[in-house]
């Protein structure tokens, strides 16, 4: 099957789903109080648009700060744990355990300790993003084929050359994979804090609409955040491919 044909069927499937949903809502098969028609959701996008754009900006700003910190800390720790065998043996079980444990348990404490502004959202976003990034990078570094390194060294490469020409290109895929996964976790962390702490942003907006039973606006806001998130991930993937060519 050609990619174009696959894409066509995907688009048609989504269109058919939306059409069926619209028909079901108009015919009264589903309660419009809970499941509004796509056309009503589209109108709601227009009505919440102005408010949503500002709040998306706030949520994104917090996510970006959390993401930069999580990437810096996660890549640094991942390179150290993946590159130094002793550190890996000692610290990896901690990272794996902390990655697996539900971070939501410390969320109340983070709100208590860091107040109700942007800080707890950033802290929790970093907490969510750090461990997956660190684990992916550490795993990637450990899996590097060491032969090219030995060959380059025996052929007299300087350490600067080794780093630029051998180590960096070999480590890059793991770092990029970590960065791609990390952004979802950071956004998730920020949204959870906004929801739970009632902090300005898209998370709080979603909860407000849900509590007020404003289903069309809720669906519209959910769709906006979802599209935003898919867009960011696809953007990072494109960047990955670019850098892949460069390698």
């Amino acid at each position: 099957m050609t990619p174009a044909r696959r894409r066509l069927i995907q688009v048609l499937s989504i269109a058919a789903l939306l059409a069926a949903w619209e028909v079901a809502a108009r015919a009264g098969w589903v309660d419009p109080l809970f499941v509004p028609a796509p056309s009503a959701v589209a109108r709601a996008v227009g009505s919440i648009g102005r408010e949503a754009v500002g709040l998306i900006g706030e949520t994104l700003a917090k996510t970006l700060v959390a993401y930069v910190l999580a990437v810096a800390l996660g890549v640094g720790a991942g390179l150290a744990i993946g590159g130094v065998r002793y550190l890996h043996d000692v610290l990896n079980p901690f990272v794996v355990a902390l990655y697996a444990l539900p971070k939501i348990l410390v969320l109340p404490w983070i709100l208590l300790a860091f107040g109700l502004a942007a800080t707890p959202a950033v802290v929790y976003g970093v907490l969510q993003g750090f461990f997956p990034i660190c684990l992916l990078v550490a795993g990637g570094v450990r899996d590097i084929d060491r032969t090219p390194l030995r060959v380059a060294r025996s052929m007299g490469a300087t350490s600067g050359q080794l780093y630029r020409k051998v180590i960096l290109p070999a480590v890059l895929p793991a770092v990029l994979a970590g960065m791609r996964l990390g952004i979802i976790y950071c956004l998730l962390g920020v949204l959870v804090v906004e929801m739970f702490g009632g902090i300005r942003g898209m998370g709080f907006l979603l909860v407000t609409f849900a509590n007020a039973f404003r289903a069309p606006e809720l669906f519209a806001a959910t769709a906006l955040v979802s599209l935003l998130s898919i867009g960011v991930v696809l953007g990072l993937e494109r960047l990955n491919r670019r850098l892949g060519h460069w390698r």
Binding site: Y86, V90, P102, L112, Y185, M195, L218, T222, V225, I230
Partner: protein
């Protein structure tokens, strides 16, 4: 080996010690040193802090089990429906992967709207989180089945049913069991997140309640209890996974 274990213990002790010293200097409402968490945990476990603890734990356990069973059933059904026919998975897996790129908690307010603040919304969120790894594992497993073996089996006269039971199922078991384990962990997280974001019963509700009343030591003790639940569930899953792996390796060899 033992030197590494010692180093790990050293790291752990260092962290706990640093926390003890740090917490002693901070606001006691915010910073609970380990020396205060241990007695609080004792009171929680003896049902002195929360006499109704067991019924709340029961609610959480019920939500987790229900959510996980539904997640597995839905995940297996959708996974095989997409994976077994040719081309269907090719078309719809990218859409599924795109959904996976959305932070799951975005869906929680809608689930709250549909299912209210009771157990149903927590179960629904647990299903939503737990179901993805199962579907993706089924799809990955089916993709990895060696087509030559299937061709040979068919040539030797195996019907679709025999092919499925004797070739596909053993080949995907290892991947599938890993997916089932990841799904379980996520179902647990989903239920806990749902309870903490807003509930009237359950372990998450108690944690929230303790935090809301500044009973920080109790909060820390309850959080540790929740961690213990998570660890026990995961240990059980890991044991099952290793058993399943041994079974498939035995079948292959």
């Amino acid at each position: 080996m033992s030197r590494i274990v010692l180093a790990r213990l050293g790291v752990l002790t260092g962290l706990l010690g640093a926390w003890e010293i740090w917490a002693a200097r901070g606001n006691p409402l915010l910073y609970v040193p380990p020396s205060r968490v241990v007695p609080a945990l004792g009171r929680v476990l003896r049902l002195e802090a929360y006499p109704t603890l067991l019924s709340h734990l029961g609610v959480t356990a019920f939500e987790i089990v229900t959510a996980y069973l539904l997640a597995v059933a839905l995940g297996l059904a959708l996974g095989f429906a997409l994976g077994l026919p040719r081309h269907v998975g090719e078309i719809y897996e990218p859409l599924l992967a795109a959904l996976y790129a959305i932070p799951s908690v975005v869906w929680y307010p809608s689930l709250m709207l549909f299912f209210g603040l009771g157990s149903a919304s927590k179960i629904a969120f647990g299903v939503l989180l737990g179901f993805f790894p199962v579907v993706l594992a089924v799809l990955a497993g089916i993709r990895a089945v060696d087509p030559h073996i299937l061709t040979v089996a068919r040539a030797l006269g195996a019907g679709p049913r025999t092919c499925f039971v004797k070739v596909v199922l053993p080949a995907i078991t290892a991947t599938l069991v890993a997916g089932l384990r990841a799904g379980l962990a996520l179902s647990v997280v989903g239920v806990l997140v749902g309870e903490i974001l807003g509930a009237r019963r359950g372990l998450g509700y108690l944690i929230n309640d303790a935090y809301g009343r500044f009973r920080t030591a109790d909060y820390a003790a309850l959080a540790l209890l929740a961690l213990a639940v998570v660890l026990i569930v995961d240990a059980a899953a890991a044991w099952t996974e290793s058993r399943a792996r041994r079974w498939t390796e035995g079948a292959a060899g």
